[in-house]
Subunit: 106 residues, 6 copies
């Protein structure tokens, strides 16, 4: 499907995406884009929104989060949101983790 | 798979589906079928049960909920259950939203 | 605590409450206030947000939802979101249910 | 409040409690009462229904689950549903755990 | 994908899987392997982790849980975690339920 | 109750808290303590673990997260995990937000 069709067929939802989500929330200065991305990945992982998590992990990399920091996030999710959440978050970031081996052993 | 095989292989679960879910709960007079459908879609969306939500959105249309009301539901879910819930609910109703353009602009 | 202190100490959150939540979402025409209230109660109940559910049940009554319709909502929540959700939703509406006996027996 | 008032003010909900929950589900032979109690505690813990979990932990003891088995359940919940779920489940069983010291060291 | 690639690309997560999850938690004596499997299936079902539930249902059979006991688990999940959780848990165990017809009618 | 009684009455749980949670996970180098705290608050907020969130917000401040960053977290939680999650997270941090007025207007 067209990636935005579920927005454009609901005009008020699309308007909220542009004006509120991206035009307001993501522009607020309290969190840097890097921190906002990290926090968003933590929220999406905890809620089990795996497809959205995968997309936001890539956005997090663009915003300056490192692959190793995402590895740390996976562990924190596994412990605080339950092992299966860790597993699913690891799968969501698999492309990133494969492309960027860990900086140090464990 | 056969759509009901996961019921018929668990006889007591199938009996509960027929006698309790459809024979009792959905027949109770406190909510009209239209309202019960609307409420069920709200519950399923909030819980992230997207496949079940898609099926119940079609049932909701049959029971008199309009496509525009489902659009309103998507927004309410996005705000009260979180943006990714709105996104997934919008995708669950995409066939309906594409077939029925919004009655009014936003 | 002051009922709005958790908003006013986070100015951007308070602004979003006034401009977006009440100034935009609740004014959108796709759902009537009555339906939006009913849907909101369903979402809050499913998510286990019991204090917020209690407040919105009272708002739902103001918006034209009847006590018997809220009884129907409790049953639908118990079945689709799990028995303990039904129990907690029933407790959230207890003042309403005590003040308004059921219109008909079951 | 009267412990059953949230049921008796919603007659169809009370009827379902008596006829379906206790008259049917809990009488089904596939699970022994001991296993059904253990499973119910696991579900309630995972869902964060702590007050209901506390009640069902006591019922589980009556049905033959041992305090040490509930200790094992707390650990399994902590690992598979997240550490805070373990913490809340441990608090839900605190009276039991205090009254019955562990059978063996760890 | 390689079944363990999401672990091996996050070395500390893989270490925790081997040392903590399998080397410690699953070896603790408070729950028998059969009971720990039954409890784990209940947790995974309640949390909607359907792929993990399917894998653990097979492990539960190996650990001595019977297909009929899993049928009972599905019903208990449907009632306490909501009907769609029962449906998804029934689907997770469908291969087992098809291969092992119920021991007794309902 | 004694703050650690729910741990000490379950010896293996207490051991895991000391050896795994604090002795291992929180010592892993992939996330700084500041980032690990921020991420943990995001997870706890998303999961609705409000008492644990309150405790970890204070720990986050000790680890270098600023009150304004926690304000940003509340907004991100409200948008991505649903408005009531934002409300409850704001309440969890109220003492911090009252003691530290926002650095800049919104």
């Amino acid at each position: 499907m067209d990636d935005f069709e579920h927005y454009t067929t609901i005009p008020q939802f699309n308007r909220m995406r542009l004006d509120i989500l991206y035009g307001d929330v993501w522009q607020q200065p309290e969190l840097t884009p890097r921190d906002r991305s990290l926090v968003t990945c933590a929220i999406l992982g905890a809620l089990g929104k795996n497809a959205e998590l995968e997309a936001h992990m890539h956005k997090a990399i663009e915003n300056g989060v490192t692959p190793d920091e995402l590895r740390g996030l996976v562990v924190q999710l596994a412990v605080y949101a339950g092992w299966p959440v860790g597993v699913n978050s690891a799968k969501a970031g698999l492309d990133i983790f494969k492309a960027h081996p860990p900086a140090e052993g464990d």
